[in-house]
Symmetry: C2
Subunit: 319 residues, 2 copies
Amino acid sequence: MTTYDLIIIGGGPAGITAGIYAARQKLNILLITKDFGGQIARKAVAIENYPGFEAISGLGLIQKFEKHLRKFTLLNSRKANLTGQVDIERDSVTKVKKTGKDFLVLTKSKNQLQGKAVIVASGADPRPLEVPGEKKFIGRGVSYCVTCDGPLFDDKIVAVIGGGNAGFEAAVALSSWAKKIYILEAAPKVGADETNQAKAKKTKKVEVITSAFLKRIQGDKFVNSLVYQDKKTGKSFTLPVEGVFVEIGSQPATSFIKGLADFNDRDEIVINPKTGETKTPGLFAAGDADNVPFKQIVIAAGEGAKAAISAYNYLQKLK
Amino acid sequence: MTTYDLIIIGGGPAGITAGIYAARQKLNILLITKDFGGQIARKAVAIENYPGFEAISGLGLIQKFEKHLRKFTLLNSRKANLTGQVDIERDSVTKVKKTGKDFLVLTKSKNQLQGKAVIVASGADPRPLEVPGEKKFIGRGVSYCVTCDGPLFDDKIVAVIGGGNAGFEAAVALSSWAKKIYILEAAPKVGADETNQAKAKKTKKVEVITSAFLKRIQGDKFVNSLVYQDKKTGKSFTLPVEGVFVEIGSQPATSFIKGLADFNDRDEIVINPKTGETKTPGLFAAGDADNVPFKQIVIAAGEGAKAAISAYNYLQKLK
């Protein structure tokens, strides 16, 4: 079995940047990912906050990232006499184990791969609502990212689904643009803390609806309304909104390294944010899978670079 | 006097990214910088590790960054109906003071500017050698960044100036490409720790020359040699090298916030690396001026985004 210097799990901004940095350090790298782009690839609206590109589609940006990484794949790196080499496997990781000094990475396709160091950059997915209309209107009114998409809803009426801190923070942020924001919470009481509730109130734009069970999102080309059921009375209501922001938590896929890292209460991997180190020497994390609070493309990319430099330093010490 | 929501000090990747993020959050921003680009603008070789651009000149990248930021300057933002506004002042900051809740920023041109929050992204400069030939050959053999330029010296003979840990780490990193690396140290003994010395020895490519006082760097179109004087004997020697890597420390310009932040022994601003916060509420730092160990464009940009989001959160709490 080949023992790679470094196995990178994930093909989003963090994983790709880690790959570029590690390849330039002449490491032999395996990058395992189901697909390229992570959450970017699912973004239907333009990305306007990755420095260097004033506005670029998610697909456009990730194609540039992937092409940048592929400069270091075997054939290309031989041709161009570049240092380092990146192998790419399209697969999902099911388990990472420590075996002596090395790591053993098991995949869905029953592959077993060995590496001296591992970077987990497997990202996180916003937890979906799973109601009719949600998938249909992604990028056409349904959004999972206020920072990314909020400016599109200038002077519009929108709803935030989820009455926790994230939902209230989203509503306050949206108040810079939207003229009216409904917060829908399925429970009889919202979960957000007083401070966040007070802030939302102060905007004079936020209306909270509790015991509201979302039934569907509807529209024509774009979202024009949602339907919810009042759980106390059983009655259904139609709310005219042009935007639906989903804030019911995210799902980082990190269980495959259970035992090797610590996690916070959101299943995010606890790292040293200066270096990307986890509690297991040789195991690093970067991007949305870790516990850095802000989830942004350029932040994830920066963390990917940190993790790769740290992995390189770790491998130097092993020698 | 206008009170800005946010004053950003510095126009490199960290400051520009902070500006883009803060403008999208509808803050009124003043960005103060002597020039745009920071260390990037001085890079003569292509940048190949900023994800999305396989190879771009320093000037090319910084022009894209600056153009991205200028989308939010007054006239443009009015025209495009964009949120937030960035004013730009070409100036140097001499002092930041806390006055009540606000910050007062004093500049070289005797301007006094007031802001509710401040991000310090003033970068750091590698300490120059100040010998003849150094300036002339920047980008043509003289480099201040092994990570950036190391790969250009495949199979070549190079020198590292500086026998501290940074110098030895540079030499070990260079051993992936260069066939021979001299380390020149002006003192009778090197300052690097044993581990770093051992690692350099292990490469079998590194030769250390102590008591070596660098006199000049010379060449034709590119560096072809350097001249040093042996301080013990007074004799001068010419060393044929194609690369000279300067590793005698860096100079972050952070004294203007003395008293408001803590600093490490390299004058770097101590931050919470998850958020960019300093010990003074409302004062944030990002990029090479802070104590995150790795100095890279994409890492600085990521930190700029973190600092801007944190500044926004801070301002929300003030309300």
